[in-house]
Amino acid sequence: MSLTPLSIILALVLAWFAVGLLGLIAPRNVAWVGRTLFPLGAAMGLAMAVAAVLAIFGATETRILAIGLPDLPMHLRLDALSAFFLALIGVTTTGISLFAAGYFRGGDGTAPGLMGLQYHVFLASMAMVVLADDAFAFMVAWETMALSSYFLVTTQHRVPEVQSAGFLYLLLAHIGAISLLLCFGVLQGGSWQFTFDAMRAADLAPAWASVAFGLALFGFGAKAGLLPLHVWLPEAHPAAPSPVSALMSGVMLKTAIYGMVRVSFDLLPHTQWRWGVVVMVVGGLTGLFGAVFAAVQSDMKRLLAYSSIENIGLIFSGLGLALLFRGMGMGTLSALALAATLYHCLNHAQFKSLLFLVTGSVMHATGERSLGKLGGLLRHMPWVAGMALIGTLAMAGLPPLNGFVSEWLLLQSYLLTPSLPHTLINMLAPLGVAVFALTTALASYVLVKFFGVIFLGQSREPTAPPARDAGLLERAGLIWLAATSVLLGLLPVLVLRALDRVNLELIGSSLGERAATWWSVMPLSSERASYSPLALGIGILVCVALTFLLVRRLYHGRIRLCTPWGCGYPQWTPRMQDTAEGFGQPIRRVFEPFFEVQRQTPTAFDSAPKYRVVVTDRWWGLIYAPIIRLVQMLSRWVSFLQQGNISLYLLYSFATLLTLLAFVL
């Protein structure tokens, strides 16, 4: 067995598994699990990233492992697309595992050692999802991923809300998995060969291809959180421990994107442009919906969960655009849109994991998840706040950080839609780009709320003990992810070169060497558009520094400290600051029809005035409640059979036997 990237990566997957098992030696020993095993896992993540980056620029490798059922060996394949996602998994988990090393402590939930096992199995299964080259291997890895993450979500399994959140997650994961199973059934096209190679070769009729595509969209959409299958995200994320939320939101959602790209670009070679329209519309609506809902949340992890839905929406709308261009036979434009989409996946993995980890540190320090009880943490937790600020600015899509680059590329691909030879799409594209722009602008609203309410101002619960900053390992994890967010923003050339390989493999054309230099990005031609993150970053730094020096030099630096002015009002308490609900109020007004709001306002005569606003998701009432009622009704009918009377059950057996006999004879 020579030392190829694939064998290194397989060894690392096994090593993750072994690290997880080692945790069972002393499951309650926090020092052993936290200080030794998790850093080991982080190191393996880094090694995985390095091997995967090598693999992107290397040749495609395949391997058949003789494990599994008889005559059904496991096919593995490491090509540029899987290597890109492995790199994403590696880079992101490095930071998350480092943080987790300092995060998990003993408690009344799952023992740390057992959680370590679940955590590392989760990592290994995500890597296997990306490597799988036949439907069996894929589904086994996919289900392992769903189950291990289910156990991680229900770490605090004694809390009723956590139980129901876990159940909802498991339910939607399995509905999605059934859809994927059916999708692979359609994709094999009558050959009954379930390797991906056979599926590539199967020449499906256009109608069947569309069916397969629809099933894949449903199945992967359930995992990614597409509308209306998003309901598990805002429930599962607050229930899970923060590193797990980071892993699920930052990395696991991306495996769904991987699956979508694999099926629609690789396994279905003849793309139809209508698929692109569907994906673009669903993605755009998901994005807007997520952003609007994120703005009105008052639980910080729910807020981030809705913001994940928003980003998934942006990613899917980019994917739709790529499919649209590909279906119309415009290779280069499709390559641009796909590069932008995958780039955004990578970026979202960095800053969203970072912010979820930040919420973990905040919860450790204060024990609070509700934004209404936080505030002023910048003074007590400068490290966490500093890293959170970087994550906030990156996610708000501000140059020169990483969120901006991918959004810029996505907008550039939107601007190329007028070249499409179809009137309907030409009408649809401006609406798409308008929704896209509105979504990204709302994201900065959400992020100002997130950072401002948690870290700025005064503590809204003045009696709470002062919070302490995160420990060294936690800090290391945060710094790693913040650093990758900055680097990916400043040096897009690194990512775009790698994505060129992916594009060549999937679409057959790429942006080419000239599209990106160390200094700047110019996707199609330098006359059309260019953006130089380094120049802009240095420009901002120079301008700010010059201003600072000039003011320093020319004017005295006398400063007087005193109490805040606040228009001179004599009575002032921290409770007068905006709460999370208050900050979201304009959004609630502007997007009134989106929400189902229950308001309870006090009257002038209340002796104990109470103000209460509950904002709920309309989708519950629209889709889920009728389904739940239907299921309950059906089960009531079926339960009629169950009378608890043994002679009746004997009668059932007899009747069944008779029916079967009738068939046989």
Binding site: A396, L415, K449, S530, L536, G539, Y555, I559, P586
Partner: protein, 316 residues
């Protein structure tokens, strides 16, 4: 040639930064004339800046470093934007490093830092102002992007100098899509620069203020920087509007001294005209209730999207 270009670009930026407060003075003076007042004179903003820069800074005890850093970031971002936008010529050095989308991003940096600094002290008015500013921002930012997109669809470029060059190089055509975009742009300009009908720069009325509520806690040099950044923002928006909708008369790189002097004069005349029109709009309209602001900006956004749609429909 290159050295000349460099010198020209730097001097353009420095001159623009120096002249920006004059723009505010001119608008105020025009407003005063229109309202039958004598006005404080063109140089009043400079006097205010000198006064502020002389004073001791008073900073709340509860302020964090972010509060003190924010004015520098705001000023820096606006100054950088000035360096990118063509004011009287398309010779900016940074033009290719930031296109119109990046410009919107630069404005967003300034906005986010202003809002964060306003939330930092923890007073009731600060958070209120931040919330309102972000409300304005989330509608005006996409509207501005749509305006830019309409122009870039016509010219096949998102780079501001290239847009200007393409627009001026062919004969005069009236683009219906640009007319929609221009309407939307004026509305965005009013909202972004905290002018009437969205905000009133000359009052501190607790219930209605937006921008002023955010900078309540600032004083002396910090406040001076913020005021100057506000003036620069107005100049930047004016220059963008002129470049998009009245691009004639801008000098190109490689032009002779006479052409540059002429373009400078034309640019100053256009800016003066802009100030007069702005004063007229402000005098003729009344301030909207804050709840009406989303409707106003929603209209701007829809107009801008309509511009894009019209372009797609008519192909122009």
């Amino acid at each position: 040639m290159n050295a000349l270009n460099f010198a020209l670009a730097i001097s353009e930026t420095v001159m623009a930064i120096a002249l920006a407060p004059l723009l505010l003075g001119l608008v105020d003076q025009c407003r005063a004339w229109l309202q039958n007042r004598r006005g404080a004179g063109l140089l009043q903003p400079y006097r205010t800046l000198r006064k502020l820069l002389k004073k001791d800074a008073v900073v709340a005890q509860t302020a964090s470093p972010l509060f003190r850093a924010s004015p520098y970031v705001q000023f820096g971002a606006m100054a950088l934007a000035t360096a990118i936008i063509p004011i009287f010529g398309t010779h900016s050095l940074l033009a290719t490093s930031a296109d119109t989308i990046a410009l919107v991003g630069l404005f967003a940096i300034a906005r986010v830092f202003t809002a964060l600094a306003a939330m930092d002290i923890g007073t009731a008015f600060g958070t209120l102002g931040a919330r309102r500013e972000m409300m304005i921002g989330f509608l005006s930012e996409p509207a501005l992007l749509m305006v830019f997109f309409t122009a870039s669809l016509i010219t096949q470029s998102t780079l501001l100098p290239n847009i200007v060059i393409t627009m001026t190089s062919h004969e005069l055509v009236i683009y219906p899509s640009l007319a929609f975009a221009a309407f939307a742009f004026v509305m965005v300009l009013l909202a972004e620069n905290a002018r009437i009908p969205i905000d009133n720069p000359s009052t501190h009325l607790e219930l209605t203020m937006i921008h002023e509520a955010m900078v309540l806690e600032y004083s002396a040099r910090h406040l001076a920087l913020i005021e100057w950044a506000t003036a620069l923002k107005l100049l930047n928006f004016a220059a963008i509007g002129l470049a998009l909708f009245l691009p004639w008369g801008l000098s190109a790189p490689g032009d002779g001294g006479l052409a540059i002097a002429a373009s400078l004069l034309i640019a100053l005349a256009k800016l003066a005209l802009f100030c007069a029109v702005l004063a007229l709009i402000e005098t003729m309209s009344a301030k909207l209730r804050i709840f009406r602001a989303p409707e106003f900006l929603g209209t701007a956004f829809l107009l801008a999207v309509l511009g894009l749609l019209v372009h797609q429909l008519l192909g122009s």
